[in-house]
């Protein structure tokens, strides 16, 4: 019984959050919610790297593209099962981050940021020009008609894809909450805050960082694979350097390193994008100055500001401090 109560306490924040997202289906258009869900998974990896491990990554589009192109190649040239496609996308993300990871995580954080952004640009060129024979260059790969219908959850149908992405997001969130609670999560924070002390405790900074890097970027690749299946086409635009800041913006907008920051940030960002691109055509102008404004205003983000307030509200209502702790993100 006590175990069940504990499990409930652990789960209820995540379940409530995604229940609310599911509920929003009633009054929000479907493409918007799916976009938010995929975007929040995309941002999760970046948020973990920035908030937990202290790596700022402007190179996330590189891993997004790895996942998207892995899926796209499979669905365009070889098979038709979207689940296998997504799996291959994840594996190719794993492969790319496994190859560059050992090189990158040795670097100081400033070099890491520069090298990562350079990687994104290189992958952009690779997909747009060098491999144009396979990737069809700027035209992109179109494979929507290749996707076969599958039993139980048919990913070709938006309604089913919506349920699928909610389930995936739920799993990702549970996974990251588990990571935060685990020894590994504590090691990640330690390597961000004081790497010497972590070394004293007998952990390898390099190992912790490498594992975190691979986990985060594989998550990003998963988001890329989901984009590929959902849109049914992939073009080099997905790794365009002009969009390299998107995940970082959303991370900071939501609240860096918090559990629900990426979700809240993705909702706010996608919402603003929809509203503002209708008002003014100049999207960069807005996103650039928004970024500068958030940074100057104190970088706590939406969830970072809301969370203490919510916790106070909950603990007053239920008069139990334990419930407040469960209200969502840690830190």
């Amino acid at each position: 019984m006590a175990a069940m109560v504990n499990a409930w306490r652990w789960w209820w924040g995540i379940l409530l959050a995604f229940f609310l997202v599911g509920l929003s289906r009633l009054f929000l258009p479907l493409p918007f919610i799916i976009e938010v869900l995929i975007f929040s998974i995309y941002t999760m990896g970046c948020s973990f790297l920035l908030g937990r491990v202290g790596f700022i990554s402007f190179g996330q589009p590189a891993y997004l593209a790895a996942g998207a192109y892995g899926t796209a190649f499979y669905l365009f040239y070889f098979g038709s099962n979207p689940y296998v496609g997504i799996l291959i996308g994840i594996l190719s993300g794993l492969a790319v981050s496994g190859i560059v990871g050992p090189l990158f995580v040795r670097l100081r954080s400033d070099y890491f940021a520069l090298v990562n952004l350079a990687l994104a640009v290189i992958i952009y060129y690779l997909m747009q020009k060098v491999l144009a024979g396979i990737t069809k260059g700027d035209n992109g790969l179109w494979f929507l008609t290749n996707i076969a219908s599958t039993p139980v959850l048919d990913l070709g149908k938006p309604d089913h894809f919506f349920i699928f992405s909610i389930l995936v997001a739920l799993a990702i969130w549970a996974f990251y909450k588990y990571l935060d609670d685990s020894v590994f999560g504590a090691c990640c924070l330690a390597t961000k805050i004081n790497e010497d002390k972590l070394k004293f405790l007998g952990y390898s900074n390099y190992g912790v960082r490498l594992l975190a890097f691979v986990i985060a970027n594989t998550t990003t690749a998963l988001a890329g694979a989901m984009y590929a299946v959902y849109l049914g086409f992939v073009s080099p635009e997905i790794t365009s350097p002009a969009r390299a800041a998107d995940p970082v913006v959303v991370t900071i907008l939501g609240g860096t390193g918090t559990l629900f920051g990426p979700l809240v940030g993705a909702i706010a960002y996608t919402g603003m994008k929809d509203v503002i691109s209708k008002l003014i055509g100049n999207w960069e102008l807005f996103i650039g100055f928004l970024l500068v404004f958030i940074m100057l205003a104190g970088e706590k983000g939406i969830w970072g500001t809301l969370q203490p307030w919510l916790e106070r509200l909950f603990s007053r209502k239920k008069a139990s401090p334990a419930a407040g702790e469960g209200a969502g993100a840690r830190q």
Binding site: V121, V130, A245, V248, W283, E284, L291
Partner: protein
């Protein structure tokens, strides 16, 4: 490969390396003294190029346009430093990177607002060709290389022969000590930032006749400038000069052998160098302040 092709390839590499050098020096100086990564240097590059385009259209003289580009890039960088960077010097390094990326993206939006998205051509100021070992080489490219070396000499003289320059070099070693000597560090920061911005503007102005001027031109050279800075080592001017010419030659000669190599080869070289020396060729092992 014929000797003619090789000669023109080397000259092309030297000129493109000079442009990279002029831009990377700003990033490098800002990192060395202020411990910020100033991605907005790429914005001043675009500003320099656009001003060159507009002034050339009005006055008919490209050199006047380049001069105007340098001045306006300097003014814009001064404004950005006062309004934004002033508040973030004390923060972490990543903080400056995110903020300056915001400035860069926002600035590209402003450029699109004023000049539109259509790429603009800028005429080459000197059509003359000169004969080097039997190869016709455009004089303009040689002038670009000469200007880069002049700037290097100028920066060297400034850093080694003037009080302000010496203070900047001392500040790169230890900013607190410089402050303790009664030197106005915040003014020093502003001067360095304006120099960096003006040099980026110069790079844009000089590059404009060689390419088309379009709003995202800063993002196109971004990867190369990064590679130059990383290979040379953040904060080292000599390293920046050497790595700029390495990258320039690799881009130019690589594209002669196999076109896609121009983009991929510098990246491979960067990874190799980082494997051997994670701080770049001349990078200091300095940690964050």
């Amino acid at each position: 490969m014929s000797a003619q092709l090789l000669t023109s390839g080397v000259i092309f590499g030297l000129s493109i390396g000079s442009i990279f050098f002029l831009m990377a020096i700003g990033l490098s100086l800002c990192f060395g003294l202020m411990r910020i990564i100033s991605l907005d240097q790429l914005l001043y590059y675009s500003v320099g190029a656009y001003l060159t385009y507009s002034l050339t259209l009005v006055t008919g003289n490209v050199w006047l346009g380049v001069l105007g580009g340098v001045v306006v890039a300097g003014i814009v960088s001064f404004a950005v430093e006062r309004l934004i960077f002033r508040r973030i010097y004390e923060r972490e390094l990543t903080f400056s990177m995110i903020t300056s990326f915001g400035v860069l993206i926002g600035g590209i939006g402003v450029i699109k607002f004023f000049w539109g998205v259509v790429p603009r051509p800028v005429p080459v100021p000197l059509m003359a060709q000169i004969d080097i070992i039997g190869t016709e080489v455009p004089v303009y490219r040689l002038i670009v290389v000469a200007i880069a070396f002049l700037v290097y000499a100028g920066i060297w003289l400034f850093l080694n022969r003037t009080i302000t320059g010496k203070a900047i070099r001392a500040g790169i070693e230890n900013v607190e000590h410089v402050e303790g000597l009664g030197i106005n560090v915040s003014r020093l920061f502003t001067i360095t930032f304006i120099i960096a911005g003006a040099l980026s503007g110069l790079a844009g102005g000089l590059h404009a006749p060689l390419i088309m001027v379009d709003p995202s031109m800063g993002l196109e050279v971004l990867a190369f400038v990064f590679m130059v800075v990383i290979i040379g080592g953040l904060g080292s001017i000599k390293g920046t000069l050497i790595s700029a010419f390495i990258v320039g030659q690799v881009v130019s000669l690589g594209s002669l052998i196999y076109a896609p190599l121009a983009q991929m080869a510098p990246f491979a070289i960067m990874l190799l160098i980082l494997l051997v020396k994670p701080t770049g060729l001349y990078g200091s092992p300095l940690l964050k302040r």
